[in-house]
């Protein structure tokens, strides 16, 4: 397994270089001039344009800017945004918040989703199964911003249980409600994935053998069937973690969480390429590591899959 991990880590190097280059080219090839909106309804003073262009190397061709940029990143310098803020400071401040938010969402969707899925799976066709199916259908059908706004108004303003928005500290307890909102839709998917796979595996030969050998129902389902059924769930959740990190834009906006999603969107609309590339590069790394972890978990869940 050691060589497998080393091989996967080595494969990441070209992926990271290729991905950052593509992102860099795409971001800086976007039409639009970062300066045109900066001076309102009149052109910017020529002297300002000149100074701005020089400060941000906007005169160099893209490949040279990319090389300069990667050289700086290798030294840990993620560059400076057009607002004059260091990207590395922003990322260090924002990633922990988004990671906390995503972890809450993942734990929430995994625990509740698997429990709901198992209950529905073992009571197939019964009331609880239908309840899970209908309620997950409802959750999937409602967009996040509706769930977010409604729960914010209900718990934050009407009932006053929580503050409607998250403070700058963004503590675990403050992020509970946003995390649940964020995880709600994935929860529905996890529940449905678990249920379907469990139902399918319960018909498998090895389950019949286990029951014939006299194993208890609890042991058959809990130890053998569920473990096998979780492989697609783990795949989904692994990919979802990456998606939540960069894609929590709506939830972040509703609850005023100063996370990564909003930072990337702001960077794109302001043509602030340096901010976008920095944030997305880290997202790429997160995706790669999550995929590695997911692949390793396959081996743990299903002994037939080996990485040697």
């Amino acid at each position: 397994m050691g060589t497998y991990i080393v091989r996967r880590l080595l494969q990441m190097i070209p992926v990271v270089i290729g991905a950052t280059f593509i992102i860099f080219v795409m971001v800086f090839a976007l039409p639009g001039d970062p300066l045109a909106g900066k001076c309102g309804e009149r052109p910017c003073p020529a002297a300002y344009v000149q100074k701005f262009t020089e400060e941000h190397n906007l005169n160099d061709p893209v490949p040279i800017r990319y090389v300069k940029y990667m050289g700086a990143i290798a030294k840990g310098d993620f560059g400076t945004t057009y607002q004059g803020q260091k990207v590395s400071d922003e990322l260090l401040r924002r990633y922990p918040i988004t990671v906390r938010l995503s972890v809450i969402a993942i734990v929430f969707e995994l625990v509740l989703g698997v429990v709901a899925g198992v209950l529905a799976g073992i009571r197939r066709g019964k009331f609880i199964d239908n309840l899970v199916l209908v309620s997950t259908l409802v959750i999937i059908a409602i967009p996040t911003f509706v769930i977010g706004s409604v729960s914010q108004t209900l718990f934050g303003i009407k009932l006053g249980w929580v503050k409607p928005t998250v403070s700058s500290a963004a503590t675990w307890s403050e992020l509970m409600l946003p995390g649940m909102v964020l995880g709600a839709i994935s929860l529905a998917y996890v529940a449905r994935l678990t249920r379907t796979n469990l139902v399918e595996n319960l018909r498998a030969d090895y389950v019949r053998t286990a029951i014939a050998k006299g194993l208890t129902r609890r042991r058959t389902i809990g130890l053998h069937t569920l473990r096998n059924s979780l492989i697609p769930v783990v795949t989904f959740v692994g990919a979802d973690f990456g998606a939540l990190l960069g894609g929590a834009i709506i939830t972040e906006r509703i609850f005023n969480i100063q996370g990564v999603g909003g930072y990337i969107v702001r960077g794109i609309t302001a043509h602030d390429g340096v901010a976008v590339v920095g944030a997305v590069t880290i997202l790429v790394l997160v995706y790669l590591f999550m995929n590695l972890i997911v692949d390793l978990l396959y081996g743990v869940l299903d002994p037939r899959i080996s990485h040697d």
Partner: protein, 550 residues
């Protein structure tokens, strides 16, 4: 300039977010219960676009913070927008060209040094210096010698300060007489110079600013204003504390002001409802609809007209000569049913324009546009026929990343209905592209424009927009009579005469219709139940010297 970029905010973020409901009567004051001193007041903030250098701050996110930290020569009255002396003891002139400024003694920067005449002169020289390339440099253009501060053009015609340094590094029109007196000499006569001096870029700067070219100042600005800058937590909040040494006339009541940064006013609005945020300067669109905010925040909301004027401009003659026909312009203007569009599309957040100047400034005279700004299908059709119609499709361009789709389409429908001509509202994806086409004069067809005043003067709604070759003259308008009236007004030593001349100039616009006046904006604000005596300035900002905790 803060002004115009505020217009960007109007244009880009969400037009309706800055707009207001109703036709605000604008008494300016909220509840009048006596408040108490001390405590902390939280204010809706946003991420500053630039470091906190006055000459580079042209938007409200940074500007509102700087306004509390810096003291300027004059302070704008929150009700009337009239300039009142702040650091200035007297501003004297006999000819509108040489101004003598006397300073009050005892004003201190928050670093302990006293505000002296050289702090103004040094600051303005730095702000205008070509090699510093500041955003607000053009505010100093009227001062004598400003042209010598520009670096010469290099091989690519762009300013090149290394090969062609500027002729001067000081404005020849500024002279320090003694510690508390300096003089300003302008190139042309400028009757409203004192009104301009309240803008952020004219603030004095302490000597420490120049030690590192404003670098450390940009992270922790130092002024002589009522509040001291304490800390900027990136992305979360900006904290100010009361300046104990403040000697001016406009101190605040609260001990601490915190600008909480929000990415979305929707979230800020919820916080005001829950008492987590005290002052919100723009009610979100969702709460404006159906006047929902009035039930959410009973007696805790206010509408007030602000110095924003919105219009539809015509393409330059080089891009499409057809629109130079004045009858066509009048026909289009009279074909637009402003009242219905405001009511049905804009949630009553605007007031129909009757001229080119905002009602909030001194010198405003209603009705400059006359019948040309009144909806009249028959007259519109008549003028349209006289103009010989329009061959082809009329287009009205707008930037799609703002909230302009609904009203531009409504305008086009109104034109279609009245004139029987095809009119299409055309989105341009990005505000930056939109402005690029306008600035380069390649925009074909009509397009939306907006203007937020830099300083509260009738002149600011005329000279920069319709003067020949002026910076924001998007339609390429040129009228020698209009220019002549502006020059006369600038030379008038009596404010009433100056205003009269500016009004005459505005009246000339009706015949030529350089842009179609659409509407004036109002600001709708809300506040928590913890604060009292909330006032809104004609700039749409909160009067921080009035508000206090209950």
């Amino acid at each position: 300039m803060r002004g115009t970029t505020r217009t960007v905010a109007v244009a880009v973020m969400s037009a309706a977010a800055l707009l207001a409901a109703g036709c605000g009567s604008g008494s300016g004051s909220g509840s009048t219960t006596a408040g108490k001193d001390g405590g902390e007041i939280t204010i809706h903030g946003c991420t500053p676009e630039n470091p906190f250098v006055p000459a580079n701050t042209n938007e409200t996110c940074g500007g509102n913070v700087l306004d509390a930290v810096l003291a300027k020569l004059v302070h704008y009255n929150p009700d009337t927008a009239a300039p009142e002396n702040d650091i200035a003891d007297a501003i004297e002139t006999k000819d509108n060209q040489t101004f003598t400024i006397k300073l009050k003694k005892g004003y201190k920067f928050q670093d302990g040094t006293e505000v002296k005449a050289h702090n103004f002169v040094d600051a303005w020289n730095w702000n205008r210096d070509g090699k510093n390339g500041t955003l607000n440099s053009y505010f100093f253009d009227p001062i004598e010698g400003s042209a010598d501060m520009d670096c010469g053009p290099g091989a690519d015609k762009k300013p090149d300060c290394t090969a062609h340094p500027a002729k001067a590094s000081k404005l020849s029109g500024l002279k320090v007489v003694d510690d508390y007196t300096f003089t300003i000499k302008t190139t042309e006569k400028v009757s409203n110079l004192p009104v301009r001096l309240g803008y952020t870029a004219f603030a004095p700067l302490p000597d420490s600013f120049f030690a590192d070219g404003g670098k450390s100042f940009g992270t922790k600005p130092i002024g002589a204003g009522p509040y001291t800058f304490e800390k900027y937590d990136q992305g979360s909040q900006i904290a100010l504390v009361k300046n104990k040494d403040y000697s001016g006339k406009f101190p605040g009541h609260a001990d601490k002001l915190t600008f909480k940064i929000y990415t979305d006013t929707e979230a800020a609005y919820k916080d005001v409802q829950a008492g987590q945020l005290d002052l919100l300067d723009s009610i979100p669109t969702s709460a404006l609809a159906g006047d929902k905010y009035k039930t959410d925040l009973p007696d805790r909301n206010l509408n007030k007209p602000v110095g924003v004027f919105q219009s539809i401009a015509f393409p330059k003659a080089t891009a499409d000569p057809t629109y130079q026909n004045k009858d066509l312009r009048h026909a289009l203007s009279m074909a637009i049913d402003r009242d219905t569009i405001i009511k049905q599309v804009l949630n009553n957040t605007k007031k129909p324009a009757t001229g080119w100047v905002s009602p909030v400034v001194d010198g405003y005279k209603a009705g400059a546009c006359g019948d040309y700004c009144k909806y009249d299908k028959a007259k519109a059709k008549e003028a349209f026929t006289k103009a010989g119609g329009y061959n082809g499709t009329i287009t009205l361009s707008y930037n799609a990343n703002g909230d302009h789709k609904a009203w531009t389409e409504a305008v086009c429908n109104s034109i279609k209905d009245a004139l029987g001509v095809t009119c299409v509202a055309t989105p341009i994806a990005e505000f930056s592209d939109f402005r690029k086409q306008i600035n380069s004069g390649t925009m074909k067809g009509m397009f939306r424009t907006g203007w937020q005043m830099d300083y509260p003067s009738i002149e600011n709604f005329l000279a920069p927009l319709y003067g020949t070759g002026a910076g924001s003259n998007d339609s390429g308008y040129s009228n020698p009579d209009f220019d002549k009236k502006l020059t006369e007004a600038a030379a008038a030593t009596d404010p009433a005469t100056a205003n009269k001349d500016y009004q005459d100039a505005e009246a000339l616009l009706a015949a030529d219709m350089p842009v179609i006046p659409m509407w004036y904006s109002t600001a709708t604000v809300g506040w928590s139940d913890k604060v009292t005596n909330v006032k809104v300035t004609p700039f749409g900002t909160f009067d921080l010297s009035a508000v206090s905790l209950k």
